[in-house]
Amino acid sequence: MLTIHRDICGYCGCCVSVCPTGSLELIDAYLTVDDTCSSCGVCAKACPLGALEVIHENKV
């Protein structure tokens, strides 16, 4: 699943623009992810800061 590292996030919305399922939303300075997220990781790649991470359950 997608983890948002809030201490790193610069709430810029770059990730929101590339999300193919429209699962991310930037509410002022707070990034949200809803249950339609497919953990594709596109957002994690695009993030200028590395604030997003897809953590696969079998690795936890």
């Binding site: 610069g10 623009s17 002022d28 790649k45 695009a46 200028p48 800061l49």
Partner: protein, 398 residues
Amino acid sequence: MKTKYDVLIVGAGPGGSIAARTAARSGLSVCLVEKRPAVGAPVRCAEGIGKEALQEFVEPDPRWISAEMDGAAVVAPDGTTMVLESRMAGGKVGYILDRKFFDRELAWQAADAGADIRVKTRASAPIMKDGRVTGAKLEYCGKVTNVTADIVIAADGVESKFAKWAGIDTTVPLREIMSGAQYVMTDIDIDPKKTIFYLGNEVAPEGYLWVFPKGERSANVGIGISGKKSGNGHRAKDYLDKFVKQHFPHGKTVEFVVGGVSVCRPLECTVADNMMLVGDAARVVDPLTGGGIYNAMFTGHLAAKTAVECIANGDTSKKALMAYDRAWRASPMGKTIERNYKVKEYLITQPDEKLNAIVNSVSELDLSEFSTFQLVKEILKKNPKLLLELKALADIMS
């Protein structure tokens, strides 16, 4: 509080505010909503705009201009520099804005023209009727109000969601998002009158790094790289830190900016029944420069003018609003986007050696008009072989 307007505009950046100003000046009732508590902040921009482009919409005012530019320089991967100037433009070619105050000024002008403005107010969902947008749910401090309008203008920027909810896919392909980071730095040695663009696959893969002066010893030092090239250990911030360490090791960072800029083609269609998209939300950023302020103001203005006409005619259907879509595509802005998209697609495939050769071919250029069009034309004149490599560039010369 009013719950019915002629036009509801989502987002108070330059696109939304100019749309609101234009519509209100024409006598329409306008509601402009901004999800942030302050218009203009946080800044997510390198703040550069051409002199004439700016003046088309607002009289320059020192309160929101950080610096005036007399030229630009392009630095090749090998360090060779190409200097661009324009004596014909009277030496002044562009501005670096102070977006915090610029955006606020435009929203202020919209308010003065009669528009209602609601800050810290988020359009959280469209109100749909028979598949058509008829307004939006507006959230403010925990309260939801339904506001209806004949036309909704989605000016909600790079993270555009409104149009997506209403059925238009605004997703930017990963390879065509510029993942960006910028430091506003002070106490650095710069040429305070020139914007500098650094190219190279080591410096900024499929993008560029910029130094845009904000004062005698201050500048926006930033970078955009392709989302495709971004990843752990090699993100926009990593490249920027490397550059800053080399070039401005003693500089002081007074502000940190991050953001995404789309460099894809504009959306295939920027209208729907009762709805128009403008600016970054419509993906009308210049794909070569990443500049979006003028394009947002231009499309915002045009969308508002179209709204005025369509509301007067009592027809706000997609068919009627298509006049807006056709008009911006046929405009010099629309044509520049298409041309610069092709130039960008060519340049991002070039190895550093090629970029070196191009910059090496011209060390100084006095452009008759300070534009990417003139620049590309001059470069092609010096490098006619480039025309053979990509037929798309041939169109530029004709």
